[in-house]
């Protein structure tokens, strides 16, 4: 009887574990199956390097470069903001703040992750966007900069939380050794602790990047959605994610446009897969 119970539980766990892997594989197979058809009509080079994304004009043009650059710009912008702030914040929580407040602060930062992205987009739209417009004196505040700032908020909880764990996990003996040699607290942090915590901090940053690249709703609301090649942070851009979300509904099933969006999806999948994989490798290195 007991044996049977064990057997059922074991198989059930195995089944749910394998199912989650099977689903991921199926999704990828489906994406690829729908996507490859597209390259029958459009050569990969025109697709990846083309400057114009005009899916609805005749003749249609599917140059993905503006979308790739849009995602890249917004991601880089948000990382420039969230990495220094996030890592500094992690150090503050791990090393500086009075231990009494440590838990409160950390929970507070992690709660930021619970805000739905549509809310972040909404708040950004009515507060940040008008500021950007008036500060830089632009025709519109829906720009890559606005997107970067809001996405930085969304990456921060991940970065702070994981980087703080990595810093706290640095054995106390490193810090004691540094201080015993006459290092100041700041020197110990910046020359020893940050080196020892580096793999974890890097993983934190990668997971933050993954979050930002995959984000759809908030960027769609505040980046302006213009599929043109951006030259500065103060222009509207359109990201890969926003393109799929905005156009999938209006594309005709089986059309070139429909297949093109699948290829955009494949590319996104590959990018986030690589990023998460790299982060994972580094997180594993810490555990050893």
């Amino acid at each position: 009887m007991k044996k049977l119970k064990e057997f059922i539980i074991e198989k059930a766990i195995f089944l749910s574990g394998s199912l989650s892997i099977i689903f991921v594989v199926l999704i990828f197979v489906f994406l690829v199956k729908e996507g490859v058809l597209f390259f029958k009509y459009v050569p990969p080079k025109d697709f990846l390097m083309g400057n114009n994304w005009y899916p609805l004009s005749t003749p249609e043009q599917f140059g993905m470069l503006p979308l790739i650059l849009g995602s890249l710009l917004v991601t880089i912008g948000s990382m420039l903001i969230s990495i220094p702030l996030g890592v500094a914040c992690a150090f503050y929580i791990a090393e500086v703040v009075n231990p009494k407040f440590k838990d409160i602060l950390k929970t507070g930062v992690e709660l930021l992750a619970a805000i739905p992205s549509v809310v972040i987009g909404f708040v950004g739209m009515i507060t940040l966007v008008p500021w950007v417009k008036s500060i830089f004196n632009l025709p519109t505040g829906l720009t890559a900069l606005s997107g970067s700032i809001m996405l930085a908020f969304m990456a921060m909880p991940t970065i702070v939380s994981i980087a703080e764990d990595a810093i706290t996990a640095v054995p106390r003996r490193y810090k004691e050794a540094a201080l015993a040699l006459g290092a100041t607290h700041w020197q110990a942090m910046y020359k020893v602790i940050i080196v020892a915590a580096a793999p974890g901090i890097f993983a934190a940053v990668m997971l933050g990047v993954g979050r930002v690249i995959g984000e759809t709703m908030a960027v769609m609301m505040i980046t302006g959605n213009a599929a043109v090649i951006p030259h500065t942070f103060l222009e509207p851009v359109r990201t890969l994610t926003a393109t799929i979300a905005a156009e999938m509904g209006e594309s005709i099933r089986g059309s070139n446009h429909y297949y093109a969006l699948f290829v955009v999806g494949i590319i996104l999948f590959i990018i986030t897969f690589i990023i998460n994989f790299v982060a994972d490798v580094f997180l594993h290195r810490i555990k050893k």
Partner: protein, 257 residues
Amino acid sequence: MDTDTIKIVRMLAENVDFFYGSTHALKNINLNIFKNKVTAIIGPSGCGKSTFIRLLNRMNDLIPRSRLAGNIMLDGENINEPNTDVVDIRRRVGMVFQKPNPFPKSIFQNVSYGMEVNGIRDKNVITEKVIESLKKAALWNEVMNRLDESALCLSGGQQQRLCIARCLAVEPEVLLFDEPCASLDPVSTKKIEELILGLKKEYTIVIVTHNMQQAGRVSDYTAFMYLGELIEFGHTEKLFTVPKDKRTEDYITGKFG
């Protein structure tokens, strides 16, 4: 052997009491640490040896809710005055910990770190000092061809000697060893003991040890602590042969501890 010829007090504890929160870990300790001598601190586990030695370079500053009463002097100056520079105290009073704790950096960087944080920038000066310190710590021959390798690749005994070299490179005046051989094999232990005897000429040394033979071999003076109190302090030979206190006698003869 006349150990009394020169007797200069380098460090001194005066009516020292120490509390971890409400735990009274040290009770009215009075102790002299003489220049160019090795002072051993012995006593059963939990009697406050580490607590005491960590007070000598203010490592206990890091412990929240701890409290110190009494004076600890270094060359006649109170090291806990509000205006003393704790960084300077820690540079002058070096410490080697029980578990070897090299940084996750190269062998060279481990030794140069202390100089860098103390503002030495000249590459030649640093390189020379690194070599000199590794030689003093009797490690040079084993690592001279692999200075760029990670310090974590060294054996435990080598790591501990690296930690000693790292400590010597900042030119301290006093060296504190908290059970430096606790995690080492007999051969490495012997090397460290020889090293300590050699370093005595230049430095004032305090060593915490659980090993009575070790205290006998390396130290000039021995302090016996028990339950947070300093029970007896004196010449190592006298303390081990004619202890004045019954508790000291019981401890060194192995009746408890």
